[in-house]
Symmetry: C2
DNA sequence: GTGAAAGCGCTAACAC
DNA sequence: GTGTTAGCGCTTTCAC
């Protein structure tokens, strides 16, 4: 394969148009101080030579790149890729490029090399799209200062740290309240891994809703999977042993809810009559489960979009200090979607 | 928020270590021609000042950035995000950064601005991760030359163009042969949109396998959805009207297969006894469908990995012409996974 | 309005 | 071994 070798530079355009590079620069930057004549002549030459300014050279001298760095993990999963989708869309809209880094594990990583690699490429800001798991936010406690504006997704809000997240707690509360409304009283929970902040919040929501209603929320009613359907299957079977009177399950995500539906059917339990089920996250496929799955719709794409919006605001306030920026925690409220798996026809 | 403002430059390191910038440059580039003494002194200063070389400045002078551009679409879907996962992992392994661009539609886009935006950031190569849909490869016919090495995913192989793709045709053939082996003889197909190359290949595989076996493959046996479960539901219902004797369905993907299982159950058709079903793509959830779904496992992640490997090979051959590179089409062979939805107990 | 000079942070090519 | 010079492609500053 042969490649269009040399790129046209501003110098060549200048020479060809019989002006200085400075004038060309003014033209491509829409500077007003260029005469109509010169401008159109230069534009012609640019057009004809196919000149495209080098962002790289620009970034070097301006010390900003109009690029944001994104640090993510688990792109093969539903949530992270949705979020990335939102990030790329919003970044494009606001005129920013996206430099992507995916790390292999949610908990084990070195921050410094990650930052270094992004910073050495002059990113103007960073979206930290790795969810809070275990102590993977501990670096925030060392009072480290960041090289550039940074926004964190999916974590416990903190004073002075910009955060965007879904409100897992309120989502869980509405899931469980809904089950209670359907007449369920012995409601189990198949949680995500307890190291995950999102799982913790969902557990807390489940507990709170039960307590509020004067219903039991004992530890034997709740067990953790690892978000996968396979883990949900095992978790559910153990729950049936330890909490046999269970009449409803709130599952930590739709994947685990799915396997639960399969097990129930195998054991000839009718859903929702014998066991009502609500999931979390709203997989696109969940309306086609058997029975169709009630769930909590969370907008992970919006998480990405809002994060980029906020980040760009932060970046702008660095460059134009007259635009102030106050770090805030943005919480997105999820929505209950009721389908067959939880609709009581019992009372 | 306050940011660690000024970055340390090679000049400051040089002054602080009492050497020239060239010597520092030699140290950070592991050049042998530096005395042990000087090297360790410089390294100390680097360490202590927290110096991190600017990739940007390097890219500018070396005219290469160790960054690859990725153009993708539909990140919210399963396949594209799997592929991106493979791309980021492999790029990281080979020491390349990833600049990501997601376009809004599979068919409608302008190539030139896409290239320009990547090229102006000096990417060393491009992964074109948008699948072939409609005439969205027509630009290849105009004999355009590319600014940098580029590799295409998921398209009809072409002379002289590097391509990585799953072999959809052979996957479809093995799916249908399997159904025939189970004793099915009237096999319908719920296809993806016919503008998609992948859908076309799967249709061709379905047809070929039927013809080979002397079974009918008429147009009333095949209908297109748009990959979504919702479309699969409608397509399947129409098929029941027009092809009532159908005893098996090969679905174009697992999502459509899922809704088909739901409809079958609603209509009291037993799967697989009355209707055997095989999907395509292997969603992680497919073992938990009711019944568990037989499908064709395609490794979309590997598509991304191989693409980056090849691309880097192409890039290297540009910089070291003694390493030749011959464009080739790499086909990944998918694998049949048999589960309950197709296992005959009829004969 | 326009241009010359300097320089962003780094390295290639050549001196010594 | 080490330093000097020049320059990657662009913009900032300050002349005119």
């Amino acid at each position: 394969m042969i490649y269009r070798s040399k790129r046209v530079t501003i110098k060549e355009v200048a020479r060809s148009a019989g002006v200085s590079t400075m004038t060309v620069s003014r033209v491509i930057n829409q500077h007003p101080d260029v005469s109509k004549d010169t401008r159109s002549r230069v534009l012609d030459v640019i057009q004809q030579m196919g000149f495209q300014p080098s962002s790289l050279a620009r970034s070097l001298i301006q010390q900003r790149s109009y690029t944001i760095g994104v640090i993510t993990a688990g792109l093969k999963y539903f949530g992270p890729s949705q979020t990335l989708n939102g990030i790329t869309v919003q970044a494009e809209t606001l005129g920013y490029g996206v430099l992507l880094k995916e790390i292999a594990q949610f908990e084990k990583f070195e921050i410094q090399p990650l930052f270094d690699s992004l910073i050495s490429r002059q990113v103007d800001g960073i979206v930290w799209a790795i969810p809070q798991v275990g102590s993977n936010r501990s670096f925030l406690d060392q009072g480290i200062s960041f090289p550039v504006p940074i926004i964190f997704l999916t974590m416990e809000p903190r004073e002075g740290i910009p955060v965007v997240s879904v409100d897992n707690y309120s989502g869980a509360v509405s899931a469980v309240r809904h089950l209670i409304d359907q007449g369920c009283t012995r409601i189990g929970h198949i949680a995500g891994p307890v190291e995950w902040w999102e799982a913790q919040q969902r557990i807390r929501g489940w507990e709170t809703a039960l307590r509020e209603a004067g219903l039991p929320a004992e530890s034997r009613q709740c067990v953790s999977g690892n978000w996968s359907s396979a883990s949900g299957e095992m978790a559910f079977q153990r729950r049936l042993d330890q909490f046999p009177e269970m009449d409803a399950v709130f599952a930590g995500n739709d994947q685990m809810a799915l396997s639960l539906l399969q097990v129930a059917s195998r054991m000839a339990m009718r859903v929702p009559q014998d066991l009502a089920v609500v999931g979390f996250d709203h997989l696109a496929e969940s309306p086609y489960f058997q029975p169709s799955l009630s769930t909590i719709r969370t907008d992970q794409k919006q998480v990405g979009e809002l994060a980029v919006q906020e980040l760009v605001r932060m970046i702008q306030s660095v460059w134009s200090p007259e635009i102030p920026y106050e770090p805030q925690a943005i919480m997105i409220h999820p929505e209950l979607v009721v389908r067959e798996s939880s609709l009581a026809n019992r009372r």
